[in-house]
Symmetry: C2
Subunit: 432 residues, 2 copies
Amino acid sequence: MCAQLLSTHPYKGTRDFYPADMKLRNWFFGKIRAALELASFEEYNGPMLESLEMYIAKSGEEIANEQTYNFSDKAGRRLAVRPEMTPTVARLVAAKINELNFPLKWFSIPNLYRYEAPQRGRLREHWQVNVDIFGCDTYEADLEVISTAITLLRAFDADSSMFKVHINNRRFFNDVIASIAGTDAEGSRRVSKVIDRKNKVPREVYEKDLVALGLDGEKIAKIDALYQMGVEEAAALCPESRGAQELLDLFEALRELSLDEYCVFDFGIIRGLDYYTGTVFEVLDEAPENNRAMFGGGRYDNLVGLFVKNTNVSGVGFGFGDVTLENFLVTHNLIPDIYSEGVKVLVTKFDDVPYTEYTKLVTKLREANIQSSIYIGSKKFGKQIDYAVKGNYSHMVIMGSSEFNEGKLKIKDLRSREETTVDAEKLTDYFA
Amino acid sequence: MCAQLLSTHPYKGTRDFYPADMKLRNWFFGKIRAALELASFEEYNGPMLESLEMYIAKSGEEIANEQTYNFSDKAGRRLAVRPEMTPTVARLVAAKINELNFPLKWFSIPNLYRYEAPQRGRLREHWQVNVDIFGCDTYEADLEVISTAITLLRAFDADSSMFKVHINNRRFFNDVIASIAGTDAEGSRRVSKVIDRKNKVPREVYEKDLVALGLDGEKIAKIDALYQMGVEEAAALCPESRGAQELLDLFEALRELSLDEYCVFDFGIIRGLDYYTGTVFEVLDEAPENNRAMFGGGRYDNLVGLFVKNTNVSGVGFGFGDVTLENFLVTHNLIPDIYSEGVKVLVTKFDDVPYTEYTKLVTKLREANIQSSIYIGSKKFGKQIDYAVKGNYSHMVIMGSSEFNEGKLKIKDLRSREETTVDAEKLTDYFA
């Protein structure tokens, strides 16, 4: 058909999902979907191709251009393969802002593409669970979102030794920094930028940058101290801050609901300076070999405003990817044997029995809601056994011409290796 | 944040899925996934971005370039947003050809993009169910695939008055045309091309083209007659054809399995000349207003050969899109009221009861596997009722300060309008 053979590799940084991979993904997303629906979150989705300008408006021309797959269509529209779901969900909310039933509790499990160097836990594409609440700007929504994050991990039997939710508040962060530094708004913004880069530069550079902004050693020490504090001690530094009060309310509610064992106040959580406006949090894997943020989220207030004038629909939410989740589940041994569960029956065949006699058996099994297949290949019986074993079938139904003439069947349990002869009429009773 | 507001419209020819839309899609794909798994089909998936050369190898440079969204990455790799799943699945099969457990019964529900003018039932993107069997080149696989197509529609309670499977065989088509026309292989190919265009040109043009290829009026009449024939009559015209025998075997098995009421032999089904090699079929909606092919499929033999030398893994399968399926279900009134099924509880709130008392109730409900939410907005009770009704909640749990002090709750059934007072401790018993 063509002289040169095509490559069988998927495009760099993307993945193929063979049935075993897909079964795993369906299993964990199925659990997540069920847990979210139980909590009355509703699923939405949007197109893979979106207008590039949405990502430019949110993240700037350079990031949008460099980190997305983007191109122009024949009419010159600039499109991106969506790199994240937040602009899409903001667009959906904006488009029906006068019809929707606020507060919204929404989730989505989109496939996302980012143009970046592939690395562990961060391919060029992944599937990402996005959970958001729109239209509630008080701590109750933050609580619901954080408790949902905990619920999702508990659905896999993860416990508080395996993960922790690290929580901060951007309003509190701004207020306490301004109060310690004694700077005006612009000065505080500059100090915040230095603090945001704290872990990315040597300690001397960090201190030098703060000194340049007018902070002395005492002030720097005060900021250092915040990283060691519990939530009450930190909040007490700036009691008039709305962010401090939000933190106190949130942590008190978490205690009331016995969720405090999963949560810690962490002044180090900032999550980018320009986007989040209130509560921010990350779920960290406690395993040292996997020690990174699995879930990240928080409150953002301005996204819907990109689409609709004079509106401010507050949002709070989080996201996490399939790769990160799978790493966590594997590390903590939380994936059961999903491949050899339940009944799955292979009806084997012989050439001296009419083929439709076998298809009738399969039809009966399926009508009784028993997962089953006829062997449709052309190999001999021995190979049909191999096929059944390799295909994780639990049972084989065997009907040679002598059984067929007597109206009988053999059923072989491939796990226990027991073989039973039954009346053909009673095939489905065996599995009842 | 930016001076000019962004558009809230999705990109032309693509769709947003709000929760009601998504619920419908999840409902029908859920039924399809369950029916396919019951029949031991296994789900796979692959990346949205694939090498453009796969589509060029299958469909030619022009179609691949014109009808896909394609672009180059920074390393100059030519990529396409996948327009169909078949090259991907052929690639997956080829990559593990020595490990896989043939015959494979595989399915996928990918999102696909085609660059074409949007029209009813054919947007620029859709979700497509793909069902394939690889590694069985006899009619048994054709039978399994066709009976699966019927099973999927029957899962929605569709009956044989609503759809029919129109079946032909490309081997039979080639053989019977050659036999009537008396032409050699090349001549028959030319005749086939004319017949393939039969419904797209005026009758005079069709006849003139056949006459130019040496067919007289008698031969043309013989070809016309084929369109009216049943399968036995047609097969008898060319009894030595392997395709004729495959048709007879297939239809006999369909009769044996009582599936013949869903199936008709239709000489008009060709489905493109270069791709299919044996059985071809289309499922047609019987409703006159929707009268088009819903499912299309058949046997193709050469795809895996694009990736691996000296191999011939025969495939047979079909595909259908979500838009087409939804049109069918709507037309035949096959969608039940999926929006107001089951129990869904809203816990309302009052300011004079501690908030965490409500969150504790919701936690209890969810632990008892009852879909529920707390009202997290800031509106008064009357608006909370509106929220519950608009959100399709079946029940409201009401606990004002007087009920709270007495350890009681009111439960309001929003469908029957009945209100019941229960002990707070017995909340979940009410729903048991």
